[in-house]
Each structure stands twice: as C-alpha cells, then as structure tokens.
Chain length 136, copies 2
C-alpha cells in the first residue's frame, strides 16, 4: 500500500486521492448497504474483486480510518470490518453515484431504496447512517 499524498487543496481531488478507484467504494457499499463485514463476504461480491486488490484496499481503508478491523467473537481467526464515522460519512457519495447509475443503467438501485430516496433523500441517507452507527 502506498502512502497517499494530497495532489492539491481541492476537496474533490482530496476525496479522489482515497476513493478514486473502481473498488474502495464497492467495499464500503458492501458494509453500508449489504450488511457484509468479512473478507470472504467482500470477495464473494458480484464484481469479483481480486484477492490482492481487496487486501490492498482494506489495508488503505483501515490505515486511513474508514474502517476498523476486529477479531470476531465467535472465531479467533475471523476478522470483522466495520465502518467508522469517516466511512459512514461516505454514504451520501455512494448514494449519489448509485442514483446516477440508476438513470444511465436502469433499473439501478432496488425499488424500495430508490423510492425512499426520491421521496426524501436527506432523511433516507440519515436513516441509513444512523442504522450503521447502531452497529458500531
């Protein structure tokens, strides 16, 4: 894993320094929306991330405080990844790209989530975030 050095003071560029790749936000999606928390679960996602990329991205996400890694209570060799507040704060970004993809590659987000977002975007995002905080 390489050290991340901000390319400029631009906040968009700063964000992309961390999440500007094809995989990091999918791992965060798995934790935020799909209730996944283990390496094996991330590996089994439909996009078929390679093991070396998954290990690299999880290392980056942990090193920069987006996720925590803890030993599972039921099995010492199992690690559980959880979103920190910094990781949870990326939910609006995930949702916004998901909404974009729902327009350009329909049907996109599942009907229930899409409809909730269309009715009350900020409230729906807040509820997702509050639910994640409860599991921290």
């Amino acid at each position: 894993m390489k050290d991340i050095k901000p390319r400029s003071a631009c906040p968009l560029s700063y964000g992309l320094d961390f999440i500007g790749d094809k995989w990091s936000l999918l791992i965060i999606r798995d934790m935020a929306l799909n209730n996944k928390s283990t390496y094996g679960e991330f590996l089994n996602s439909e996009e078929q991330i390679a093991t070396n990329i998954l290990a690299d991205r999880l290392g980056m996400l942990e090193a920069y405080g987006f996720v925590t890694k803890q030993v599972a209570a039921d099995k010492k060799s199992k690690f559980l990844y959880r979103l920190t507040e910094k990781g949870i704060s990326l939910v609006p970004v995930i949702i916004e790209i998901g909404l974009w993809g729902s327009v350009y590659n329909p049907p996109g987000l599942n009907t229930q989530l899409l409809s909730a977002l269309q009715q009350d975007k900020e409230g729906t995002i807040r509820r997702i975030q509050e639910n994640l905080r409860r599991h921290e």
Copy 2:
C-alpha cells in the same frame, strides 16, 4: 483506451466503471466549476495530470458521451471540450465528494459555494447545471 464492460448490475459499480479513477472527475470539475474547456487548460490544473492520462480520459469521456469535442471558432487547431447532459448529470457526484473533502480536509470548497450548498444544496446544484446547459 479500453472498452468498458459493466462488472455487475449495481448502479454504484456501473458509475465507478466510468468515473472510478483519480482523474476523470477532476477533468469534469474543470469544465463544470472552473470554466475550462481546452486540453491545455486541463493540463495546467494544480494536480498536474500526465499528458497520456489526460488524453486517455478525454478519449473515454468523449467515447461514452460525457463530453463533446469541437473545433474552436477562433482557431482550427484548437479543440473545445464541453459537458453533455450526461456529463452535467455528474455535478451532484462532484459536489458530494467535494462536501466530504471539505469536512475531512478543510477549508475545502470555496466559501461562497460551500455556504450556498449549506443553505440550499439541491437548488445550488440545479443552478450550476442550468448555467452549464446555457453554454452547451
């Protein structure tokens, strides 16, 4: 430039297939927020994109309909890049990552834009998009 094949039906993954890299959204930012439209202007941005990456990303953005490339009226050897409706539809994504970066790497977005977004996010984004449509 490689063909882009969607990795899954997930709309987030679909979006990241196109903009999941460190540079594409910075080029769109330059057009959307910084009034830039030429190769030279993109090249001169603070993040110092390499020429081969810039050429590759502009090719992708044009091939997939995010931007148009037209000969400048004042100089036949100059090309002007403009956002299409599909490119303009990424403004909410740029803003959301910019707002995230403004929290984690302050001060972030310029004060005027940040304050407008805090007062009325949807309206401010709509006004940016309407302004870009006027220049199409």
